[in-house]
């Protein structure tokens, strides 16, 4: 396999500051079994809260990866992550940035981890791809349907490898997908997935920003202006109102946050993560008990009822150690987690298991569900054109105008 020739890669790249660690450690020179510097994947982290910093730690566990810089608009998160990276490498070389644009302008960074809140995913990753970076982005991929498609387009236009998160698609639900596709139960008819519900609007009062804690305007970014409140931008999970995941302007709620895992797993097992539904049926309490997505091939995906597949021969029950049936996508090259998978794919240029297209189709399922719940009626969807059919009211919700100057 040919080596990643990083020094040649730097040649010819447009004008930007090239930052080189002051001290080339013995690790950089290849001691302790680590690959030499020219075979490394250099990485930056943007959005280094709980999940983002955890992902970065995961990448640092791969001997091929060297983290050079991190960025966060929360001063505490930035300092904490910087210290963590420096502690790992036993030096002080990790550079910290409050503005991700400075980080992605660096020519010596090959890839970034994006762990920002959802409303920033599109902007950060698209800008990074335009600067020639490969991407690991946390799920859910996007805040709107149109954003997701633009992320795919940017990956293809700039020839980038882009993996979205969700270790659970295989980690937690892969055994169900194997069982469903084993042939033991015949054809798959319906998949059930049970992420939680939609977000809500935030009405929290504004409070003074404690000094040197957060770059508030930057945290808001493309989202509408609103006053600072720690619970507006907090890291808390769930819809309890103490974190960004509760709020419509920054997240799709649990529908997207857990949908990235659960709908992702269901679509993977249905082998439909390259397309979308034609109908989204709102629960009317009569014929439709739970929100239901209907696909062109007749398969259905139901929001609720656990996580399972119902086949012609009944519910697919997994068997321990079952083989991966042919035709069911899986990790390759010894990867068992999306982080390692991306690191492999950056070198081999293979399509990662959670390639941006599959992540986009998963996120679209989540967004369609949220739109259906918001409008309280069924929807008709064209999965090829990615438009609602004859539904101007729904079509308005396919994207959200961004606050200037943010544009993707």
């Amino acid at each position: 396999m040919s080596k990643l020739n990083r020094r040649r890669f730097l040649k010819g790249v447009g004008a930007a500051a090239i930052a080189i660690p002051h001290v080339i450690t013995s690790e950089a020179l290849g001691a302790e079994g680590r690959p030499p510097a020219s075979d490394r994947i250099t990485m930056g982290g943007v959005g280094m809260g709980g999940q983002g910093s955890g992902d970065l730690r995961g990448f640092m566990g791969d001997k091929r990866v060297q983290v050079l810089a991190v960025c966060d608009v929360k001063h505490g998160a930035l300092a904490g992550c910087q210290n963590s990276v420096n502690g790992r490498y036993k030096n002080k070389d990790c550079k910290g940035y409050l503005d991700y644009r400075e980080l992605i302008a660096r020519d010596d960074i090959d890839a970034i981890v994006c762990g920002t809140p959802d409303h920033w995913h599109a902007q950060v990753t698209i800008d990074a791809m335009k600067s020639g970076k490969d991407i690991y982005c946390e799920k859910p991929l996007s805040l709107t349907i149109r954003e997701g498609r633009k992320m795919v387009q940017a990956a293809r236009r700039f020839g980038r490898v882009f993996s979205c998160g969700s270790q659970r698609v295989i980690g937690d639900y892969g055994h169900l997908a194997k069982a469903a596709n084993s042939g033991r139960y015949g054809k798959v008819l319906v998949a059930h997935a049970n992420p939680g519900g939609p977000p809500r609007h935030c009405h929290l009062p504004g409070v003074p920003i404690p000094p040197n804690t957060i770059e508030w305007d930057m945290w808001l970014g493309p989202a509408p202006w609103a006053p600072y409140n720690p619970y507006r931008c907090g890291r808390a999970y769930g819809l309890g109102g103490k974190g960004f995941r509760t709020w419509y302007d920054y997240s799709g709620g649990m529908m997207t946050d857990w949908g990235g895992h659960k709908f992702g797993g269901a679509l993977h097992g249905l082998k439909l993560d390259h397309t979308g539904p034609t109908d989204v049926l709102y629960p009317d309490g009569k014929d439709v008990k739970m929100l239901t997505y209907v696909f062109k091939n007749g398969m259905k995906l139901v929001h609720g009822g656990g996580q399972k597949y119902i086949c012609e021969g009944g519910e697919a029950k997994p068997i321990r150690g079952e083989a991966v049936p042919p035709g069911l996508r899986w990790y390759e090259d010894g990867a068992n987690y999306p982080i390692r998978d991306l690191a492999n794919c950056i070198i081999t240029r293979k399509r990662p298991f959670r390639d941006v297209e599959f992540a986009h189709r998963t996120a679209t399922i989540c967004h369609l569900g949220n739109i259906c719940y918001m409008l309280k009626r069924s929807l008709k969807w064209d999965p090829d054109k990615e438009e609602f059919i004859g539904d101007a009211e729904a079509q308005k919700l396919i994207d959200r105008p961004r606050r200037g100057p943010w544009q993707i």
């Binding site: 396999m1 040919s2 080596k3 990643l4 020739n5 040649r8 890669f9 730097l10 010819g12 790249v13 447009g14 335009k130 600067s131 020639g132 293809r156 236009r157 700039f158 020839g159 980038r160 490898v161 194997k178 084993s182 042939g183 033991r184 015949g186 609007h201 009405h203 929290l204 009062p205 504004g206 509408p224 202006w225 609103a226 006053p227 068997i319 321990r320 150690g321 079952e322 083989a323 991966v324 049936p325 042919p326 035709g327 899986w330 081999t348 240029r349 293979k350 399509r351 309280k376 101007a392 009211e393 919700l397 994207d399 959200r400 105008p401 961004r402 606050r403 200037g404 100057p405 544009q407």
Partner: protein, 434 residues
């Protein structure tokens, strides 16, 4: 009876939006954290109101937005609700907010999404009147609306001293596309910090043009070696889309060159860009590439999934490198050629465990019933049996369970070992219907 009717009428009035004047009055005075919780109440009312009655709510929201004494927060929330239910009627009121530092974006929530030329007209009318910074947002909205009539109005902002506004102008012209936008972008000058944005915009705009024009633009950007690798890769993609025949040899040159700084990006393009000339050119050039390149390019051809690559791929079946051979068979399987099955079956019995494992894995992923049938026919061959059984296990195929049981009872030690090694889907009661 009359009393009942009166009660029904009174309840109806109470529930109608026209009677819920308090909610909208509260919203007009609303600030975050107010006890009235007017924004949440208004949203709840909106969700509960049938679509046929939205027009009445729209009228209330328009009045709120237009009133001088409504709070900024109240107007912001009114704009949010107009994003959902707003029609042409709300355009004049909402457009009046475009010059406000905070409310300009809220105004665009509806203006950008209303399907009416009047919305574009309102945005255009506001453009020369707002501050240089706020222009960025309006231009973004015009770009997202792909408003062709806005091209001339946007053009002057290419030279804006506000970098965000200049960048918005470039990208919006690209999104609008067409000859006029392309001509303006071609003549534009950009400071160093925005050069990549300008070039990217020219490439995106080219996608809307005739192929000869697109070829010219993308070809020139690619050829300029002072441009960044990221931009040159994007330009090459544009060239592939406009003129695959011209682009294909360039792609081949880059993927063959292990030292090329664009190689990684171009390999990705090769995997994803639908272009028959690309399949032919890359697969024809396979034999002349060094072995490590061949393996990478074979995988990329597998991702392309184009059966037309089979001629070039199958030429590598006779490679002196087993790794290349394996990669070629694997790719052949992925693109739908069944000629690889028997050679792979032979390799599943290779003395080198690494090779046999790779062959088993390669057979494992081919999504074709012919594989199971062919492998089943080979089980009885004493030289191939053990490896073939492993491949069938890897595929989870249970339709040949009976044959395998017969074989392990009478077969060689290797066959017995392969047959009796735990096989998760062995249970005879669950026979595959695949």
């Amino acid at each position: 009876m009359i009393r009942k009717l009166t009660i029904i009428l009174a309840v109806g009035c109470l529930l109608s939006p026209m009677a819920m004047g308090d909610v909208w009055q509260d919203l007009a005075k609303y600030e975050y954290g107010d006890e009235s919780n007017a924004a949440a109440e208004a949203h709840k009312l909106l969700q509960e109101t049938p679509v046929a009655q939205h027009a009445a709510i729209e009228t209330k929201l328009i009045a709120l937005v237009s009133a001088k004494d409504s709070t900024q927060t109240g107007k912001a929330w009114a704009c949010r609700y107009l994003q959902q239910i707003g029609t042409e009627k709300c355009i004049p009121a909402v457009a009046g907010l475009l010059g406000d530092k905070i409310l300009s974006h809220y105004a665009r929530l509806s203006l950008e999404m209303i399907d009416s030329p009047k919305a574009s007209a309102a945005l255009l009318a506001a453009l020369p009147k707002v501050s240089e910074k706020l222009k960025a947002g309006i231009i973004i909205s015009l770009g997202n609306r792909k408003e062709a009539t806005a091209v001339k109005a946007i053009a002057p902002s290419l030279a804006s001293k506000e970098a965000g506004t200049a960048a918005a102008a470039m990208r919006s012209l690209a999104m609008i596309g067409g000859k006029d936008a392309a001509a303006i972008l071609a003549k534009a000058k950009a400071p160093d910090a925005l050069l990549a944005v300008l070039l990217e915009s020219q490439i995106v705009c080219a996608e809307s043009l005739e192929k000869t024009e697109a070829t010219k633009i993308c070809g020139a950007i690619f050829a300029n070696t002072k441009n960044s690798n990221a931009i040159r890769v994007a330009a090459l993609r544009g060239l592939i889309r406009a003129d695959g025949k011209k682009a294909a040899p360039i792609v081949v040159t880059i993927v063959k060159d292990e030292a090329s700084p664009m190689r990684r990006g171009v390999l990705q393009l090769t995997a994803t860009e639908p272009c028959p000339e690309l399949t032919a050119a890359v697969s024809d050039a396979l034999s002349a590439m060094p072995a490590p390149c061949q393996i990478e390019v074979l995988d990329v051809l597998g991702q392309r999934g184009d059966i037309k690559a089979i001629k070039g791929v199958s030429a590598l079946y006779s490679s002196s490198s087993t790794d290349v051979k394996l990669a070629a068979y694997k790719t052949a399987g992925r693109i739908g050629d069944t000629g690889c099955i028997k050679p792979l079956a032979e390799l599943t019995n290779d003395k080198d465990h690494g090779i046999s494992q790779k062959a088993v894995a390669a057979l494992g992923i081919i999504d074709n019933d012919a594989v199971d049938k062919t492998l089943a026919s080979l089980i009885g061959d004493p030289k191939l049996g053990p490896g073939v059984i492993n491949a069938l296990k890897r595929r989870g195929c249970t339709s040949v369970t009976a044959e395998i049981i017969k074989l392990v009872e009478s077969g060689s030690t290797e066959t017995k070992i392969a047959g009796w090694t735990p096989w998760a889907t062995w249970p005879q009661t669950r026979i595959s219907t695949r």
